[in-house]
């Protein structure tokens, strides 16, 4: 090994150790565990793909798969819309723009569990804020967390609230590098704000939009904390994500089956990550 290589290795070594010990080995461990019968009250042994065969016949698992795929699709779309509005606002010349940017960051900065608790409070059937406000428009009271679609909507709202700031910031970074001359020129040509958005902002921003899309999708695939607090996976398992479902089996003492569920989620995430790598031009991203 040459000098450079050795030097570099020395600097990278701590990171590699940590990552191998606490991420890579556990992931491999989970992979192997999914091939074992690992139940607290049964003898442990290798059982090949039995756990996966069991998965394929498990309706609840497929229900979770569906949820895990539909949830990101809807919430990420809404995050893009809201995020765009916020990013454009934050990019204007405003008084106290710094403060406004700080405020916009708040939902992202506070712990997910706490934002879930706040939304749980808002959705309460009897004295929640949502039903109180709906009363003025003559609707409700709505049993938000009671129906599967209602619970789904609640989760989407809570997730959108929490992660839109992140999307907004990424989009903001994209907006900042669009040369202002383009807008000035368009203004001279008499284009209104909406036209300018459609013909300048949107096309120039599309690479950044894709980046934000990929990050958020992969993140939304593994949603756990807001579901754990808000619905616990219910009602009737309608909002059980794969993370929640896998976790449940860990707690039942069945680590083998829980691992098999995790492996499936891992595969979904990997597919998205591969798409990300394929789109190699985004390889210079942070986060």
């Amino acid at each position: 090994m040459n000098n450079k290589g050795r030097d570099a290795l020395l600097f990278i070594l701590p990171l590699i150790c940590f990552v191998i010990l606490f991420i890579l080995i556990p992931v491999i461990g989970t992979l192997l565990n999914s091939l074992r019968q690992d139940v607290s009250f049964m003898p442990k042994r290798f059982i090949g793909f039995t756990n996966f065969v069991r998965l394929s016949a498990d309706q609840k698992f497929w229900q979770s798969v569906l949820f895990t795929l539909v949830f990101p699709a809807i919430s990420v779309f809404l995050e893009m819309v809201f995020g765009m509005v916020i990013a454009i606002t934050l990019n204007q010349t405003l008084k106290l723009r710094g403060l406004l940017r700080g405020i916009a960051l708040i939902p992202w900065a506070i712990p997910g569990v706490i934002s879930a608790r706040i939304w749980q409070m808002i959705y309460r059937y009897d004295y929640g804020l949502a039903n109180y406000l709906l009363k003025f428009v003559g609707i409700g009271p709505v049993n938000w967390l009671g129906s599967s679609s209602g619970a789904f909507l609640c989760l989407v709202m809570a997730d959108v609230w929490r992660t839109t700031p992140f999307v907004a910031i990424i989009l903001l970074a994209g907006l900042q590098v669009i040369p202002t001359e383009l807008y000035e020129q368009a203004k001279v040509d008499g284009a209104g704000p909406i036209k300018r958005f459609l013909y300048i902002t949107l096309p120039l921003l599309s690479p950044i939009i894709i980046v934000a899309l990929i990050f958020r999708t992969i993140d939304a695939l593994r949603v756990f904390d807001i579901i754990y607090v808000l619905t616990g996976g219910g009602p009737g398992g309608a909002t059980t994500s794969l993370s929640i479902y896998g976790y449940r089996f860990y707690l039942l003492g069945d680590f083998g089956y829980g691992s098999a569920i995790s492996v499936m989620l891992f595969i979904f995430a990997l597919i998205f990550a591969l798409i990300f790598i394929k789109a190699g031009k985004f390889g210079r991203l942070s986060v």
Partner: protein
């Protein structure tokens, strides 16, 4: 005409941002300050600080324990993680070794693994070490888990520092480690600090690892404490939960407001080039 339209749009945008970001937070604050959470239907709202006094004074609610654990765990892990990320980031930005890009992409890919794929085995691993319900049992995984983010941010800061600085020091006979400590880090100090802040928020908010790796108030963190506060859907002591939440949000909200520039830079450095 266009000007007015624009001004209106701008204003409504600002109002939207304020409402969107603040209404739930205000709601939390209001509930935490009211005597009973159902004032909307009861019609009478009594302001009180009782909830705050209670969660601080009543030791068996363990709120201060949760807060202490969170601050220690997030503080230590963000510091260590930033240091380790700085070392690696320096190597990637300054030493042209083979496989740099592959290395970066691999690290980035790791950060996209779902936590649930890690926690099952990590739990067993920590069990064997006897580190369930201990600070190291949380700190070590948090360091690893926040490293990819830290690495990318540090890298983007380092790559903005002119190489001439290194080369000058190299001529003076300093080795690479000395260069990093004496030359690069002081210049990259703002970047270093904002990375610590970001990773602090990152670890402070983590839930699933903490949920499975801790068992009681000796090491449970704020998110776990608040999630398990008397049950899942329970008729919860909302006043307590919301006052505990408010206090816990305070540090991260202050960080967000004071260091918004650094956080935004940290999150987006290198995203646009």
């Amino acid at each position: 005409m266009v000007e007015r339209e624009e001004a209106v749009l701008k204003k409504s945008g600002v109002i939207f941002v304020l409402f969107f970001s603040l209404i739930p937070v205000f709601w939390m604050l209001i509930i935490s300050l009211s005597q009973s959470p159902d004032f909307l239907v009861n019609g009478e709202m009594v302001l009180t600080l009782k909830n705050y006094f209670d969660i601080i004074a009543r030791h068996n609610l363990h709120f201060l324990d949760f807060l202490k654990n969170s601050i220690i765990v997030a503080g230590i892990s963000s510091l260590f993680s930033t240091l380790i990320a700085a070392l690696a980031g320096y190597a990637v930005s300054r030493i042209r070794f083979r496989g740099r890009m592959v290395f970066m992409i691999l690290v980035l890919t790791l950060s996209m693994f779902p936590q649930i794929c890690i926690i099952g085995y990590l739990y067993k691993f920590m069990s064997r070490l006897g580190w369930i319900n201990s600070y190291p049992g949380l700190i070590l995984p948090y360091i690893a888990w926040s490293l990819p983010l830290g690495l990318w941010i540090m890298l983007s800061y380092f790559s903005q520092i002119p190489r001439e600085l290194d080369e000058a020091a190299m001529v003076d006979g300093a080795n690479r480690f000395q260069i990093l400590i004496r030359v690069i880090l002081p210049v990259a100090l703002p970047g270093f600090l904002s990375t610590i802040l970001l990773l602090f928020i990152f670890s402070f908010n983590e839930f699933l690892f903490a949920l499975m790796l801790t068992t009681d108030f000796h090491s449970q963190t704020v998110p776990v404490g608040i999630a398990l506060f008397q049950g899942l859907h329970g008729e919860l002591p909302w006043g307590y939960i919301m006052s505990a939440s408010t206090i816990s949000c305070l540090p991260v909200i202050i960080i967000a407001l004071l260091f918004q520039r650094q956080i935004i830079q940290g999150l987006t450095r290198g995203a646009v080039k």
